[in-house]
């Protein structure tokens, strides 16, 4: 086992995959010598100088370039410095990437990964702090991965790179260097498939589904609520598309209560989709579902960002509300 940060886990997974498969290219702004803006992946360019390529400041351009490469059977990975820049490439993502497998009548898959670290954490304000999974969930042809912990990032990135479908890979900016965990050795080839949620903490009173910053907050909230005699089951979905609804429904049937927490805006966020899917599948809910998320607003520059997005306190309040306490 190796004890590493999230960023290091990601770097190791990418390095090990690039070593095995020469069709993997890593493309983005300042990703080569500089190692990328948010997660430093120095070893990639050191080891594969021809396959880790700095791109001109043109998200639409290099996303399109990578798309053509993927059509040809290569496995490009595209990095955006911030996912807020994704709308620049949205025509390509929405059509040339997400529709291609369907339009080609299953003849031409698009095996590419688009990755970016989302949310607050850089104090850079409204154009550098968005959470974007809600923008993407309405395209049928995209998979969306939202790992939070190093061991998941490691195994899931191996899967993302090997997957024949386009994967939107969203990291959480506030946790890329703050969490550390043990990951398997290289020779174990520990791939984690998509669509399998992980129960991070078992409990009996309320189910909390959360990812990224709010997952860390939910686990802290559960710790505190335990002292008050409230037992929380915390589920990390790890991927939103595909989504492991069975694990969530099973948990809700046990607890009868559900809180969904994410950093993205509440309206149109993935939490609404989870709430709908749960209510379609079970009558076990004993109280209305509570969603925790950013109120429909934007993120100001500076440390005040932590006061705009929800945290542990909001999760605790939501749990108490659904339990009528």
């Amino acid at each position: 086992m190796r004890k590493v940060s999230y960023a290091k886990a990601l770097e190791l997974a990418l390095y090990e995959e690039m070593k095995k498969d020469s069709s993997i290219y890593y493309m983005g702004e300042d990703v080569a010598v500089f190692g990328g803006a948010i997660t430093k992946l120095f070893s990639l360019h050191e080891n594969f100088p021809d396959r880790v390529i700095d791109m001109p400041l043109d998200e639409n351009g290099f996303t399109g370039l990578a798309t053509g490469m993927a059509w040809m059977g290569m496995r490009p990975i595209v990095e955006y410095m911030y996912p807020d820049f994704m709308p620049l490439a949205m025509a390509t993502i929405a059509h040339a990437i997400s529709k291609q497998y369907w339009l080609s009548n299953q003849k031409c898959p698009v095996p590419m990964v688009i990755r970016s670290a989302q949310g607050i954490g850089s104090q850079c304000g409204a154009h550098h702090s968005e959470c974007v999974e809600g923008w993407l969930m309405n395209y049928p042809g995209l998979k969306i991965a939202v790992p939070t912990f190093p061991e998941d990032a490691y195994g899931m990135m191996k899967h993302a790179v090997r997957d024949n479908d386009p994967v939107i890979w969203l990291d959480c900016r506030t946790t890329v260097y703050t969490t550390e965990a043990e990951i398997p050795e290289e020779d174990e080839d520990a791939e984690i498939p998509f669509g399998e949620a992980k129960i991070k903490r078992t409990g009996t009173d309320v189910t909390i589904v959360a990812w990224h910053k709010l997952l860390i907050d939910a686990l802290a909230a559960a710790e505190e609520l335990e002292k008050e005699g409230i037992s929380c089951e915390v589920i990390d979905p790890r991927t939103l598309i595909p989504f492991d609804i069975d694990t969530v429904v099973k948990s809700v049937e046990k607890t009868g209560h559900l809180v969904i927490a994410h950093e993205a805006n509440i309206r149109g966020g993935f939490g609404g989709e989870i709430a709908a899917q749960v209510t379609e599948r079970t009558t076990a809910l004993q109280a209305p579902i509570e969603r925790v998320g950013t109120e429909n607003t934007y993120i100001p520059v500076g440390m005040v960002e932590f006061e705009v997005v929800p945290g542990k306190a909001e999760v605790i309040n939501a749990v108490k509300k659904v339990l009528g306490k």
């Binding site: 001109p56 043109d58 639409n60 370039l65 053509g68 040809m72 080609s104």
Partner: protein
């Protein structure tokens, strides 16, 4: 003449096939047997005659929606079946007239419904050829409308930066849907924009397949050396944007003037072939008759094929290659 009779006849057939295919689509459409919108390339077929004979087995092409001459790459029966929503056609019949594609076998790249959005992925195909050290050149076509998209200029920047084997083709037929080119941009020649990206730009008169072929040959040589090129084909669309478009937006005086400047390439080429004693009138009539027969047979065959049903297009396995147990 630098080209053999065989080569010249091939060029003639491509033009005639393109024209006659459009005519047949119009006839079927009038009968109410075709559903959807159809775009013709009347008077601009010399372009396909100049390019298509040069496409080799390693090359890739992305035509645009008026390039029925590019059907010379396809099995016509399968293409027509695809157009008529038949399951045995290309892409199971979901592509209609111009979204049919087959990158793997035909090297026919997909036409994006957002005109001009495909310049960049096509450039990515050239990038794949380059980094994998594979032979071949990519041909990416759009009209003067598609040439107003910023992505063409982003694409040329990447192509010149990474020295990619790609030829960009702008078929400037003087009108984007209904808007004349002079209302779209101030450039008299769109090819002039290429210089800013260190890409070779050239403009060719679009009614002469031989001049177009020579320009393409030079562009291909250049692209193979890692010097991407842009070829602008200046022509004039004498049909509407879609079949049924009355072209009310074209002033009569302008139409006459432009038709004189850009005469019909088919009778023009027929005259050259006869004047140079390459083909007799009977021979040309014979080729035309054979093409008509081929098109008629393709339609007859396609009408007999099973129609696609909505359910066939749905399901997780249609969207994803790996559905993880269907959990979506």
């Amino acid at each position: 003449m630098k080209y053999s009779k065989e080569q010249l006849v091939e060029m003639y057939k491509i033009m005639q096939r393109s024209r006659l295919f459009d005519k047949r689509v119009a006839t079927e459409s009038k009968k109410g047997k075709l559903v959807g919108m159809f775009h013709f390339g009347t008077n601009q077929e010399a372009f396909e005659a100049g390019l298509m004979p040069l496409i080799g087995p390693d090359d890739y092409i992305k035509p645009y929606h008026r390039n029925h001459g590019c059907l010379s790459l396809c099995d016509l029966k399968l293409y027509v079946a695809g157009m008529l929503e038949r399951t045995t056609g290309y892409n199971m019949g979901i592509g209609g007239d111009y979204h049919q594609q087959d990158i793997k076998d035909l090297h026919l790249l997909p036409i994006d419904g957002l005109i001009g959005a495909d310049w960049l992925p096509d450039t990515g195909v050239a990038m794949a050829l380059k980094v994998q050290k594979k032979p071949g050149v990519v041909f990416s076509c759009n009209g003067d409308g598609g040439a107003q998209m910023g992505s063409l200029y982003e694409a040329m920047n990447f192509a010149s930066l990474f020295e990619l084997p790609i030829v960009y083709i702008v078929i400037n037929n003087g009108v984007a849907m209904t808007t004349p080119t002079e209302k779209e941009c101030k450039c008299s020649e769109i090819s002039g924009r290429a210089a800013g990206f260190n890409v070779k730009g050239v403009t060719v008169w679009g009614q002469d397949p031989i001049a177009i072929r020579e320009a393409m040959e030079a562009a291909i040589e250049s692209a193979k050396r890692g010097e991407p090129a842009l070829v602008e084909i200046k022509t004039y669309r004498t049909c509407g944007h879609y079949f049924g478009d009355p072209r009310d937006y074209v002033p009569e005086e302008k139409d006459e003037r432009m038709k004189e400047k850009y005469p019909d390439p088919i009778p023009r080429f027929e005259k050259i072939l006869q004047d140079m004693d390459i083909c007799t009138e009977e021979e040309l009539k014979g080729y035309t008759k054979a093409i008509k027969k081929e098109i008629a047979e393709a339609f007859e065959w396609a009408y007999e094929q099973p129609k696609i049903q909505g359910y066939m297009t749905k399901g997780a396995d249609k969207i994803f290659s790996n559905t993880e147990g269907g959990k979506l």
